[in-house]
């Protein structure tokens, strides 16, 4: 059952007011947040003002928006007025953006109540929130493990029911991987479907905003609210947005599902493999036709990504220079010294590492060997997807090769990068994907990833919904929620 629909029904029947719903969430956050640390800032005044607007609209008998009364969180790389936008970086510690991200305005227009900004790996670079300058978030299923990343705060907040749904951003898996680790639904839309105006740029050819929620239906409702053309984002697609709700039919008879063989090889844990096999049996029992599909270039996804994303990041992050906003190192004796010291003080280690990789790969003499080479391999990876989609309707596999790992387990940067091996190819190809809960291994959630052709979100949602209706994984809750 959709949590959003349940709450909306209670609101319409006047069983609870929007102000009450908001206060209840604030109280629960008060109680639980010391354990989870999913938020960097709360926006109680903004949330209450919106809640009062909804209650007044209801009292006047006005029609309510589709997300009326839905308490939501935003990843802290989405710009908000009157609240900090830090990207979990020291360099933006006190930064107040001068404008709102388009997605925030769209959510509020649909009635959502934005209650706070969630933790992330600094500038969305990481897979665990351990790279946050303000301390990591914890996984509600086991406080000794990471929630995944980079949208780990959003995933943890949804899993701990601190919010009904949240927004994250996904450059190489940053919505899907934390969704898998925290046992929630995470959807990365097709590149261009959701406006990125007001999303602090990491790797512009890969970044995309999407929802994290407790059910597939909730994710579809949030996607419906944020999708669509925005003249303020020149990469936004000028197309009619389909009705995602009508895609939620639990019927996948005859649908062709391809298991990506490259995702079930070595490196994938036995517990995850077992859960994926069982999930395929469920899809088969629902009438889907399962086949194995090889995408031979996917194994080059990770090295390709670790050229392209750092190259774009090194250019995007050049703007943090201590002049117009953000941290400035003092005393500054020369302009160059000010740039260098501000950046060295303001950026954390992983961000510096990626700026260094990108700067190296784009520097004279290496540009063709690294950057152009990676762009060519990107073409081959995209072709693997397009070939696969001539044979099957969707591709499936694990979202991550393991369940959530323990804090400090992946000190070596390369071993951390490898946790995104199953999610990265999709970003390089610009297509949409969803992670949904499909089981547990030793008490930790496992995610099933479903990937589709460009703009195939209705198909993704239909498969995810059919699977969810046939299973009960999404009804499990971390033990401290009673």
């Amino acid at each position: 059952m959709s949590l959003i629909r349940t709450l909306r029904e209670q609101l319409v029947k006047r069983e609870r007011s929007a102000v009450e719903l908001t206060q209840e969430q604030l109280d629960w956050i008060d109680q639980t947040e010391p354990l989870i640390h999913s938020f960097l800032h709360l926006m109680p005044e903004r949330a209450m003002a919106q809640a009062r607007r909804i209650d007044q609209a209801l009292a006047r008998g006005e029609a309510l928006g589709p997300l009326a009364g839905v308490v939501m969180a935003l990843k802290d790389n989405l710009c908000t007025l009157n609240a900090p936008t830090t990207c979990a970086s020291q360099i933006l510690k006190d930064y107040q953006a001068p404008y709102e991200a388009t997605v925030n305005l769209k959510l509020e227009a649909a009635g959502a109540i934005l209650i706070g900004k969630t933790n992330l790996d600094e500038f969305a670079m990481g897979s665990s929130t351990e790279n946050s300058a303000y301390g990591p978030s914890r996984n509600p299923w086991d406080l000794g493990t990471v929630p995944g990343g980079s949208s780990g705060g959003s995933a943890a907040a949804v899993a701990a029911r601190l919010v009904v749904a949240a927004l994250g951003s996904d450059t190489g898996g940053s919505i899907r991987q934390p969704a898998a680790f925290c046992g929630v639904v995470g959807l990365k839309p097709t590149y261009g479907l959701v406006s990125r105006y007001g999303l602090v740029a990491f790797a512009s050819s890969l970044d995309q905003i999407g929802p994290l929620a407790n059910t597939v239906e909730d994710a579809a409702l949030v996607l419906q609210a944020i999708a669509g053309y925005d003249p303020y984002d020149s990469t936004s697609l000028n197309l009619a947005v389909p009705d995602y709700n009508s895609a939620l039919i639990p019927d996948i008879k005859g649908l062709k599902v391809g298991l990506v063989t490259e995702f079930i090889g070595e490196g994938t844990s036995p517990g995850v493999l077992q859960a994926i096999e069982t999930a395929l049996e469920v899809l088969k029992s629902l009438g889907a036709e399962i086949q194995e599909v090889s995408c031979p270039q996917f194994k080059y996804g990770l090295p390709t990504y670790y050229i392209i994303a750092p190259c774009e990041a090194s250019a995007n992050l050049a703007r943090y220079d201590g002049v117009k906003y953000g941290l400035r190192a003092e005393p500054a004796e020369s302009l160059l010294g000010m740039y260098e010291q501000s950046r060295n003080q303001g950026f954390g280690r992983e961000v510096k590492r990626r700026i260094m990789i990108g700067t190296y790969a784009l520097s004279s003499g290496y540009y063709d060997a690294y950057y152009i080479k990676a762009l060519k391999v990107r073409t081959l990876i995209k072709e693997d997807f397009l070939n696969a989609f001539t044979k099957v309707d969707v591709l499936v596999g694990p979202t991550a090769p393991t369940t959530a790992f323990r804090f400090g387990d992946k000190e070596d940067p390369l071993s951390m990068y490898l946790s995104d091996v199953c999610t990265i190819p999709l970003n390089l190809a610009g297509m949409g994907g969803i992670s949904i809960p499909c089981g547990f291994d030793q008490g930790l959630p496992i995610g099933l990833q479903i990937m589709g052709a460009p703009l195939a979100e209705p198909t993704l949602l239909r498969v995810a919904y059919a699977y969810e209706q046939a299973t009960a994984w999404h009804q499990h809750q971390p033990s401290f929620i009673t």
Binding site: P303, I307, A318, I357, Y360
Partner: protein, 95 residues
């Protein structure tokens, strides 16, 4: 391969003043990461067109209509140092 001199040179290009221990750490780590990335060289990409963006959109324009700019005072309020309507930076040239 990546040595100390390369790390120093790249850090200068990236406008990062690394500490000595970061320099040492990055010399090893960047070497490892680039060695991993080098597996791309085993792929023959002769004749393959590079993909720079996921969705091909180019020359996106908007109607040439004036719209209100962001409030200059609000923008300047974020400056680490300002003087009236200007951003203040360290001296760039000798008087």
């Amino acid at each position: 391969m990546i040595d100390h001199t390369t790390v120093q040179k790249v850090a200068r290009l990236a406008r990062l003043q690394l500490t000595a221990s970061e320099e040492t750490l990055f010399t090893v780590q960047l070497g490892d990461i680039l060695a991993y990335i080098d597996q791309l060289s085993e792929l023959d990409t002769t004749g393959v067109q590079p993909t720079t963006r996921a969705v091909e959109l180019s020359n996106v324009t908007r109607p040439d209509v004036r719209r209100p700019p962001l409030d200059p005072e609000q923008l300047l309020s974020q400056a680490p140092q300002r003087e009236e309507a200007f951003y203040r930076v360290p001296r760039i040239s000798e008087p």
